[in-house]
Symmetry: C2
Subunit: 373 residues, 2 copies
Amino acid sequence: MTTATLSVSRRTRRTPLSFFNEEQSVTAYTVYNHMLLPTVFRSVEEDYWHLKEHVQIWDVGCERQVEIAGPDAARLVQSMTPRDLRRAAIGQCLYAPLVDEHGGMVNDPVAIKLDHQRYWLSIADSDVLLWAKGLAYGVGLDVTLREPDVWPLAVQGPKSEDLLARVLGEGVRAIRFFRTDWLRFRDHSLLVARSGWSKQGGFEIYLDDGAVAAELVGALWEAGQPLNVRAGCPNLIERIEGGLLSYGNDMTLLNNPFECGLDRYCDLDGDLEFMGRDALAAIKARGVSRKIVGLKIAADSLPACVEPWPVSREGRPIGEVTSAAVSPQLGCGVALAMLGHGHWQDKHAVVVETPAGPRQASVCPVPFLKAEN
Amino acid sequence: MTTATLSVSRRTRRTPLSFFNEEQSVTAYTVYNHMLLPTVFRSVEEDYWHLKEHVQIWDVGCERQVEIAGPDAARLVQSMTPRDLRRAAIGQCLYAPLVDEHGGMVNDPVAIKLDHQRYWLSIADSDVLLWAKGLAYGVGLDVTLREPDVWPLAVQGPKSEDLLARVLGEGVRAIRFFRTDWLRFRDHSLLVARSGWSKQGGFEIYLDDGAVAAELVGALWEAGQPLNVRAGCPNLIERIEGGLLSYGNDMTLLNNPFECGLDRYCDLDGDLEFMGRDALAAIKARGVSRKIVGLKIAADSLPACVEPWPVSREGRPIGEVTSAAVSPQLGCGVALAMLGHGHWQDKHAVVVETPAGPRQASVCPVPFLKAEN
């Protein structure tokens, strides 16, 4: 385990809100899509309780947008995902696993249909722009691909709707889950979605102007004072409790969507065409040999899970933990683990080899906690 | 500027040598190809002097290999780069800018021809695997693409040949620059290249076994004691002095090789076929409007360059600094800057807007210092 600082350069890009994180004394960052992403302000646990009770402003500018525009835009986007996007409405957000021709997970973005010939993929941590560009060039599609200057800002927590209503007007309350609307902020028009990488409710604002970012965060900060607003960020404990998978942590290119429990996003029954179709159909037919499950670990403290922890049963290796934290609300460790066939049933007893020693654990359903909002 | 720590998770992958960095008290990391890369041990300046006088062991496991194998391997690799690889020898390393169909820089790897149907691209910080996979699938090429379990370990500095001769035998002295050989280390056969991301001389060892990494670093450490060996890493000052460009810092997808001074790697005269050929030919015909130059900055200290610094002349913006440091040897600031046409001549006077205030600077040739070895 390291307490090394992070060297920042142009390559680990700052966002228009990095100044705000620093004003609010961010204590840890990670690098995500070649961009800074805060991970801790006060402490992971203190940030966790605050997120569940109040409202936080998150700089998630690192959720880069891959813009796919042009006559073949819909064809390219659909070719990359097993989720049927053909009936998507304009303004709709759809969680859409991207797979390669072997069914391996390339990324798990939220796709936003901005227009019939214009989509954004709001991506996890891999260079989807290069993937899409390679495919488009190779196949010879008529599309324009780029990473626009858009930096999402998330407002998350049970008071997020009240906060946004004060700043963007009551119209925000009418936005349904995973839908978007254009709302006014002073002289600007902002694309706002009811979405975000927590289960505490909230919104994501797709800022397309760095100068507006500072203005907006100032307004949110001022209006949020009576609501106990704070700077925050995706929270390790809360996201594990809520069963939110992290690409690169809980799944990689070497996993397929069925192993990740993403069956409901794989539309194999109809005539949908996408590049991994044959591979996914074969995997579905034979069944997967490993799958992500939840584990409750008998522990009141755990080291950081910086590389997978082996999981065994009766001395035999059966898989690995990919993310872990201690849940203050449940009073035990909570983890996401990729376990082999035969070890998926609720309450199945296993042993997790943590760097602090072996710990007893039992399989349990994900999410660990139901969404509050 | 931030002194935040780096949150490490499975996604920011550790290497088989991360333990060694930590034993040697690494003080700062960056994330590179989704993997940890040390940036500082004692201080950037102390590490710099040591690198120029002695020998260092570098964990550059983050230089990920993209393996391209199969009947169409040579065709795919050549289609991605303007450098003519057709007469490359087996075992040869070639610096090979990768460009898209617009001539934009996708990466600048060292390509290693392992066999007629097997190449490694030892990549800078972008997901070349996804780019190559997209192209191969789109075009329908018969290749297998993967990121093998290979973690380069570099030995750099004027005493590196002596150190490696003690551990791997005298055969290492016969390896020419950018050539490779297979050398014995106990029971293992290691691929060794005379290469590395410094101008102080040295080698890179392509470790393909995590267990050997610990054994090898132990042997290097022991044999290196009389040579004053230390743990090290790519050094910001030394690489700017030596004119080594950093992808993501000094150039991005929005730059072409001519802007980056990589003209000599663009073989446009013959009949070479690659995807960016038409674009590069057009750029070459009309000439570039901006180019990377060196700047000497009148300063004995500089803040970290965490985002581009504006460069002006007579009050008019003419470009930006992308990397900067103070050179202890030259006694001034040294920087790489992308400047507009008309501002490239030696000794041209400009002003750099640093976060610490404006500084006088003058254009100068790159590298700032000639290689010592």
